[in-house]
Symmetry: D2
Subunit: 391 residues, 4 copies
């Protein structure tokens, strides 16, 4: 599976060439704390291939065991066990941090926040962080604003080649497909609620709409709400919207967006899936789970008042927990950016703060995938350049 993924990741291959030439990661200790599946395994492999000592951390609910095994066989330090108990998960995280990581790929800023609070000893070695998601960049910026951040970070998430692709096309396809897979239901004709119309929510809404659903978007931002309206979706307050839903997706990137109070407004049997990574976007603390899954990846949850809905992957992010994560083509871009970001951190003395990747790195990553799919673009003519640079 790793081979198949690698063959579909030309941008990561090009990034590996560039980073090997740079040499900045050679001999450095790199930690990768992303969902552990075949595609992220290719990033770990690539980091090792350019000379880094690599440790990987995987969660209990999204780790693919065969992938963990393959990386361990290849000599990487693997801290990942599918289905591990919370205690064991804690031990694995400590072990991962114990590897004295210099450059860290984080997802949701989970490890970097742990290091800034309970594992401050690890700050001694940590020289840079590449953060993958919207939900992780947000707290990093809060930390920066509050003066709590102590390490330079690159917001990989905010690179155009990440934000405009992974979040929209990748998560859109993978979250909607995960919900359909675990239910064997159809989008066409169904009523779908999407809570949040940022890039992920927009991707989910576009995908559901393309598959024939009637989509209602909920928002707290009037401009985003208006955009949803002009995109042809219904817009309504969340409490009203869920009252007729067949599917509810959250994509706000903010914890506690959906609660048991909302579930009480839903029809019995509504399917709920989490698309964003704001923890916990769907706060299921007020709900009682059924003992067994009704289908793999789908479990009934009941409110105190007796309303029962079906929750995908126990409210973990649906695409990585009930599916295999985002498609390989967009992960190719995101992981190429990750590798470039780690190299960028190792090559420059960046000040503490949240930084963007330079635009030329973004452009190079985009161009490497374009080249692989055989697509040509133009260079401006002298007359165009003149028109673009004069007034």
């Amino acid at each position: 599976m790793i081979d198949f993924a690698r063959a579909h990741m030309p941008a990561l291959a090009a990034a590996k060439v560039a980073v090997r030439a740079s040499g900045a990661l050679d001999g450095r200790r790199v930690g990768i704390a992303l969902t552990l599946e075949p595609k992220t395994a290719c990033l770990a492999e690539a980091a090792a291939a350019v000379g880094a000592e690599v440790a990987v951390l995987g969660s209990s609910h999204s780790t693919k065991p065969a992938v963990a095994e393959a990386l361990a066989d290849a000599g990487l330090s693997v801290f990942a066990e599918a289905g591990a108990s919370p205690e064991r998960v804690g031990e694995l995280r400590e072990g991962f941090i114990d590897t004295r990581i210099e450059y860290l790929s984080d997802d949701g800023a989970g490890v970097v926040r742990q290091i800034h609070t309970k594992r401050r000893d690890a700050l001694e070695h940590l020289r840079g962080v590449a953060e993958e998601t919207t939900s992780g960049v947000r707290p990093l910026r809060v930390m920066e604003a509050e003066g709590a951040l102590e390490v330079p970070c690159v917001a990989v998430n905010d690179a155009r080649t990440k934000l405009m692709f992974d979040n929209v096309y990748g998560t859109g396809q993978s979250v909607v497909m995960a919900a359909l897979d675990v239910t064997n239901m159809q989008m066409a004709g169904s009523s779908v609620v999407v809570a949040g119309y940022g890039r992920v929510g927009r991707g989910i809404a576009l995908m559901a709409h393309a598959l024939g659903a009637k989509v209602t978007v909920t928002e707290i931002d009037p401009v985003a709400a208006l955009r949803a309206h002009h995109d042809g979706h219904n817009v309504a307050p969340l409490e009203d919207a869920v009252a007729r839903a067949d599917f509810v997706f959250t994509a706000s990137g903010i914890g506690h967006t959906l609660t048991s109070a909302h579930v009480d407004q839903m029809p019995d049997g509504t399917v709920v899936a989490v698309g964003g990574a704001g923890r916990p976007e769907f706060d299921i603390s007020g709900l009682t789970p059924d003992g067994n899954e009704i289908r793999p990846g789908l479990r009934g949850y009941t409110t105190e008042s007796g309303r029962t809905v079906f929750v995908v992957a126990d409210a973990y992010c649906a695409n990585t927990s009930a599916g295999e994560g985002n498609p390989v083509e967009v992960m190719d871009l995101s992981l190429a950016l990750q590798l470039r970001a780690l190299d960028y951190l190792a090559s420059h003395q960046l000040p503490v703060g949240v930084h963007l990747l330079p635009a030329d790195i973004d452009d190079e990553v985009a161009a490497s995938q374009l080249a692989a799919v055989g697509v040509g673009i133009d260079v401006p003519s002298p007359a165009q350049t003149r028109a673009a640079t004069t007034w």
Copy 2:
């Protein structure tokens, strides 16, 4: 899983009420030879619930073992073993036919053709056949034209509530999703070939197009080709079309549509999936399979000249073999029609031949699903009726 499916099949529930009231299947021997999964299990259950003695036949590659077990526990005669050898499959089919079926639900006309040729003894009991698919209705009509057909058949496939829904929305969603699931690839930006632009091919093409693929349709019928052109797809001869494909789907309903000669024109690594039920739509006899699947449901096949492509579900129909078949909402319609068709055959003395379901049964099935989703329609006003019935 059967419970979850049943809860999403209101039209089948309504059909059960109607057929119980008719009483025509009470005490009759019914054989169901459809893909054995949770939804078709609901049909088998429903047939038993209205008083029939029910036998079910399942294929080696699409049977879901837990479903087979549940039906056996409920007292039905089950002839289905996942992964059975060809010899064992043969024995199971003989055992199924040995139950002296009076009314048969067939899929692809496989059992009915076997009975007309090698098991002519079974014709003694067989009083009617309800055929599910385009690929099965076609040979039944040939048999009728040649005078070889000896039993009344109902072309369930040709009911509007089947043809316009299952074949388009159901197979479109399920075949494309099966291909994406087994590859973790993305439709957006990919080049997709669809061989055949009947209802199934149209569904696949619409789905792929909605997900952002560039679709090329191949056809032998100029009107269908022109329709694909006006639907915004590229149209080209198959040999040319496959030369740039990321995915190739067959949906012709006709055997030998895709052959190793076409594979020689494909890029290395193309993914090929069969969407129709014309056997073998993709004739893989000239290809050599790899020993192991590269991912579950995906195996490499190589031509004599050395071209390797990845084939979904070893060229069996992708949605039932690498997935769970069509979504529950459209199967609700198809299986309600099946139950109504068996009852119709049992209630009437139809002559030998291929018959359509009466339009009012079609309308009732459609209306029962509309009612379940809470949708209202109009009745014509006197002025409209007058306008519609005079000149």
Copy 3:
């Protein structure tokens, strides 16, 4: 404008070649009673070019004067005056019928019904009728069923190359665009009601949906309603649906579908446009028109209770009255079929009744447009043919 249209009508050009070769129309009297605009002018020209004596009839609200003039200059008999009074329209129709038409292209069966009732003298010469629309085929079939039809008719409308193209793509684009043109409003975000989900209604709904509207379909047929539901549209009774509409389109093909009682349920300012040709689909007899158009092609109409809506083209068919009719590419197909149908009627001694065009003519017309756009299709291999014709 006629030149520009002709250059975009390769199928009509091919039909002209075929019909000239047949010679059956040479010296015959042909009457063309279609909307008079540049594309239908090309049909009239083509009929003249193959040797017919051609008379054309145009309506008061859709005739383009420059086109009428050009045809008159070319020696055709033209009975068309834009803005003519009802009396003058009556005179023009009589004059047209007075030309002793042998083969008639009719639109909505208006002339053929007049001949069967008030101008029975013209039946003496009339040898065949090619009918263009759904709304015209319907009464012809009623006439046939009642024994009132006295001339062989070809239902050009029912040819696959007409029905699947003109009615869906052509009318969908042209009716929606006409409504947007005369209002300068936007589809994206608007609420659109489509009354009727036949081919024209489906085309309008698809177009509006593609442009970002939220579409509600109303129907009297449960299967059509269910199809709309699976296509992702809302479905509701008409009276409820119009209560929140920004735009209401009728496409039922049946008179009196929309009445002043429905208007009383609409919000003030709703825009109403007629897409079908069932006269009067929108019965405006209970409404009072404003004196002047508020914009060209748009006039306010008020109910007795004081509700005011804006009606496109005074409830005439929007695309031909407020626009230039269907796009040239689909009219190329329809008009090629018209010419072939006239030739078919003139070449065969058809019995009285409503006939379909033979499938091979349909195929030839489709193939001629495919050839013009440079699209290739396949021929079945021997293995496929064997698979398709045996059981």
Copy 4:
């Protein structure tokens, strides 16, 4: 027509209320140099209604005479004559500048550049500029970078409620519709080239794709090109792309994007339309125009080598020249922002430079349209706010 437009512009109505309350424009001299049609007339009216002395400037090719007349009747100073000669256009511009404008709404930065070069006397009175378009903001930023700018400017174009709506939905619909209107051609099945994949280009491509076209995008930016690829469009160099085009749209915002050299690569009869405002996006200096328009708004142009294409509106921006500009719903947003921007300039002592509108004004404009269409949004719960603002 102005009344009809005003009734569909609730955001402008709300802005008028806010600006009247502010009082900052009361008695000020305002100049409005936008395309003069019913919607912009509503802005001019609104500026007058809040107390400003208003002058309007309209171009020779896009002014609607009835609108100019109505504004003059209402007491505004109107400098606009449809079809004016270049000399007369120059006189009108001078007259407009002579009104000693304090606050200017400019479109393309044409007037503000003229004032900074040839009419520097007018800088004495000019206190602020609100610029409407991408093509105007670009030179203003160049001027700012070069130190040539001498007046505070607000980039209305860069407000989210402008950029995400007008440029995408508005121009997408209006440019594509203008091209279809002047040709009576069909998008479905056609090959469309879009040069530039910024917001306008994306809108055009989405619209053409939604209508069934096969779209090829050309770009100079790899990230934008990759986005087009993932959106399902073909991507190619412009010279290659045009070789099979039925329609070519430019949307680069940069002059000289399309030249006679590109025309030499097009098929005879290709339709070319300009969608952006980079002057001249389509440089027709190497082409010879036909004497007369072949249809209103469409004229043949021939290269030296003899290739003839049809150009919409003589290469002026198609939607304002061959159509009525963007739909009223998006112009409602843009013109509300214009009025708010003029008020903002008059209420604050902004430094010289290019400024954004404050986000809260953006939000208010969006919220006013949401309220008018009856759409509700949420306010964050305390738990959400806590989640969003802590780490």
